[in-house]
Every structure is written in C-alpha cells, then in structure tokens.
Symmetry: C2
Amino acid sequence: MAPASRFGDRIAILAHGGYPDNGKTMEGVMRYGDYEIAAVLAHDHAGSRTRESFPDLPDAPIRATMDDVAEPVDALLIGVAPVGGGIDDRWRADIVRALERGCDVVSGLHDQLSEDPEFAALAAEYDATIHELREPPSELPVASGIAEEVDATVVLTVGTDCAVGKMTTTMELAAAARERGISTGVVATGQTGIAITGRGIAIDRVQADFAAGAAEQLVVEIGADHDLLVVEGQASIVHPAFAADSIALLHGARPDYLVLCHDATRESYHNFEPVPLPAADRYVEWYTSIADPISPTEVLGGALDTSDIDEEAAARTAVAEYADRIGAPATDVIRYGPEPLLDALE
Amino acid sequence: MAPASRFGDRIAILAHGGYPDNGKTMEGVMRYGDYEIAAVLAHDHAGSRTRESFPDLPDAPIRATMDDVAEPVDALLIGVAPVGGGIDDRWRADIVRALERGCDVVSGLHDQLSEDPEFAALAAEYDATIHELREPPSELPVASGIAEEVDATVVLTVGTDCAVGKMTTTMELAAAARERGISTGVVATGQTGIAITGRGIAIDRVQADFAAGAAEQLVVEIGADHDLLVVEGQASIVHPAFAADSIALLHGARPDYLVLCHDATRESYHNFEPVPLPAADRYVEWYTSIADPISPTEVLGGALDTSDIDEEAAARTAVAEYADRIGAPATDVIRYGPEPLLDALE
C-alpha cells in the first residue's frame, strides 16, 4: 500500500552538524518514509542510537562515517539543510564513499551535487544516481485540465501561512487512510515530502507558467494508482511572497476537497511579522471562490497545530473554535489524530 | 519623459517569414517603443515600406538583409515569434551580420541565441551583447514588502483572461499620462513589453517562489524615478494554468489601483475553450479581496477590447454595460482612448 520508493529500500541519512535539532528532512523521512534506516551519520553522536533523541521514531544506529556502515545501503540521503543550502566540506568524504559503493545520493540542497565534478565522475564510474530533490524536471507541461478526469478523490492541504502543518497533515491523513484499507497516494510538492515519498516536484522551484502543469502531471500520474490522493499544499493563497505556489496547486491539482491548516497561536505571517494573519474563515472563502470557476471544491475540515498550547483544555477549546470558524470538522492531527478529517471524507 | 532604452536608439527589426501578420513583438515595439526604426528585415517585402501594411504606425523601410541596412544600428530585434520559439535558419545570416557590425541582438525566443556557439563567439569578438528578453535574472529576491514604500502611484493592469489587452492598456495609459505631463514609468513583465521599454522581467519564466520578488524589485527600481507607475499584468487570478503569474504581480507590486481588462466578446478562456469565463464583477471581488490583507487596492476602471464589435452603438453599449458591471469607469483604450482611466486617477 505504501508508495513506490525510487530511492530504494534501505538508506543511510547524513546529519553531520545538524543532529538532532536541525534535521527536518531526516526527521520527516524517519517519521513518514517507507525506508529501512541502516544508519544516521553524525560525527558527534557516533555510537548512540536515534531513540535517545527521538523516542517516538523508528530507532536507528548513529555512525561517524559511511565506512562504519557495514550493511548494504541503496541510498545516502542528505538529511540536514544548512542556511544557504550549500555543500558542507565535512560531508564530502561520506558522499564520495557512498558513490564508490554504488550507492545513490539523495539531496535537497540548493547547490546541486551533480554539478560537482568529483561527485559527477564517481556517479558515472560506479553507476550511481544523484537525485536532486529540489530540481524540477526540465520538461513540464502547461496545465490543460486533465486532473479533472482522475477517478481518485483528491484532497489538497492548504494553509493560512507557511509552516502551519501542510506536510504533516498530508502524511498523517494518508497514513490513517491506509490503515483503513484505502488505497492512498501522496503527491509531494516540497523537498521533505519528496524525500519521504521518493517522488514529487518542488513546486516553488518551477517557473510560474508551468507550476499548475507540474501539479496536474503529478496528480494524473500518482492518482491513476489510488482511490484517494492527498496533495501536499505550499504556502498560502494570500501571502506576501509565495501565493503563486499555492494558487498553482489549487488550479492544477483540481482537488475535490481542501483541508485548511493553521497554527493556533500564529498572529502574523511567518517571517513577515509586520503583516497580521487574516481570520481563518476568510481563507475558506478565498480558496473555494478562486477554485470555483476552474474546478469547484469545498473545505473537508481543518487541521490546527496546537503544539504551542500546553494546557489540554485550552487546546481542545482552540480546535472547537477553529471548527466553528471555518464551518467544518477540525482536529490537531498530531495531538488528536487525523480521524475526524477521514470521517468527514467517508 | 520616455524610459531609458537599454537596447540603444536606432534598431532594425527582423521579421522574415512573419511580416506583416505574425509580428506581435515588432508591432508592439513600432507602436509603443521609443526607438528609431532603421529598417524592418523581411525577404518577401523588400523595397516596400511598413506604412503599406501598418498605416497607423511610424513608417520604416523594408529590407531583405542586414547588408542592405546602410545606416548605423544599435540593435537588431527579433520581431517574430514562430510556434515553438526556435531559431529559424533563414535568420542566421542576418544575426551573424549584425553581430559582426558590433550591433546588439535582442531576442524573445525560447531558444537562447547566446547559447549558440557561433553567435556567442561573434558577440565576444565584436563586443556586442545578446539580450534574452525571456530570461529572468539569475538572482532574484523573495518579496519582502518594500514595494509598499514606493512613493509613485502604482497601477496594475489585471485581466479576466490572457490576451485581453493588458499590455496595450499599460502602454496606452502610460502614453496618455505622459502627454498630461505626468512622469510615468512602465513595468514590463512580458517579452513584448520588455522589448518596448528596454527593461523588465518575464514573470512567467520566474520560479514561483521568486515571482512576487521579481515584481517588487521592478516596482522599487523603476518607481523611484516616476510619479506614476503602470505595471503590465499577466494572465488572470482565476485561470486554468497561469494564475501564479497574476497573483505574484498582485502581491509583489502592491498596486494602489487596478485596471480590469476584458474582451467584450470572450465567452470562454483563451486556449481553454471548454472553461466558461466568469462574469467580470467576480474578478473585481477576487482581485481586491486577495490583495486586501497584503496591500489593499481598488479598481480604478475597466479596459474593454471591443475590436470584435463592428457597430459603433453596440461597442458604446458594451463599454457602458461593462462599467456598470464592475462599478467603475470603463473605456476601450484603442477605440475611445485611455482618458477615462486617467481622469479617474486624478
């Protein structure tokens, strides 16, 4: 039932310098990915195990270098993203050693590993592939509307802002649907989602004219194999900088339903603090009315991140108030699980 | 008062195979550009003059090849855009000859002339520049909201669809404002607009995350020198494929006013015929409400293309009905001039 993983079955994750706090991709892949984790590479933590920092994730040994990973490994995933997105020189030896073992390398870095002459030569010599998660395909179509014809029920996670839980909601909803025996596909549109599912397109890196077409292509391809498709949204339709990502997914994916993600304590746009965040019910109107002439959709429910609310009663109240405000069932997919969203679907 | 033309003062326009009917860029540059047209190159029409086909445009001689253009020329503009956007082999000799004269070459083709080894070598040898109109700058910012601080009044032309007159309205409005003595800048966001003004960024080719930032950068740079800024819109905020272009301009440019462009006889989306076009008043609501939390704006007026309505009374009625529908003054900027829009501004 899990999606095909094009990066193989067993992977190692490079996390030098970012373990345990700055490994968003590592954590996402360990939590939601369908991979066996042979090892996490982190110089400073060699000899310990990941359960010491991440008790709720599948456990894996921590090693100092690729040489310390005796087991066969299909791919080495760069699991940390330093500021600037460049290649850290301390990683070079492990990337070289992985390629020399014929092991693929998977990177979401801004700098392309495949443009590094040494890495490129080794990949060619040892028949290994360097997967660039951030790099969209060079040939993408203009959207033509064919996502409308997909038989699968398409759910798009949308948000009031960036960093409000769209990726997490996507993965939690898909996992819960699979547990109910529903054939479910995930359309990943950002680098962590792509690392988790093994396929997808980083929509924010696609030229504006082709962004809806990229979404459409993914929905058509992945939708053909499933009854339910959960599409990872990006940014927000009303946003100082990134609304283009959001509207391209809305029109390109042609979702039957939306899940509106929001952070319970967010008052202004993430990284744009002077701009106050509009009320959530306005987003319901915006998303549904902007979708309407192209492909009508409705809000299935809301996903509220209450992780900054300690008190249980206050969190429950926040979810109930959010449900009232958006006029649909709501939950915190981590605190209370995604079942209310799934119930609304069936 | 005219904008700086970075392609020089005197240009020749290559129109082989596209003259007179398939030269949208040529026609736009002749109509609105601040260039002296030394010659139009069109094998099949050599010896005649452009006034024979375009009586309302500045007149220019038509020549067979670059060798027949005796006058000094600053730049050769590729004025035709064949389907596919490739380089036509019949143009090669003229491009070579232009570069050998040290003359810049300006191209909006999809294929980049500067990646052609022969052209690149000649440009280097003769110190000529190949300007690729479609290629955005390699370094663009994420939008940060600084367009808000521009003192100039910013007007954005928006549309109900593609090909409803946004570029034409932009140029007509700017020309009329200049005639009234208003210092007016144009922000070009598509290849013809860029060819006309000599600067700009093709928004549809910018990666989605940077499209609003590109708009913002242009508004800040060009706005600093003017009291009025007319920003060329792209596509439509509700569109099967290209809404990302439109919303990036809306949020990035932070316009004070919008001009809503529409084609009087358009019933379904251009090139997406099965999708019926929504009523124009819905667009007023969409554009203003999606802009509101980021930077409030209002519809200054409407620009209706009535060129497919022959009867004068019917055209007048269509404009009046359009004004009623959108709740703002309207005109056909070609048939009746842009003055009603300018009057609404002052």
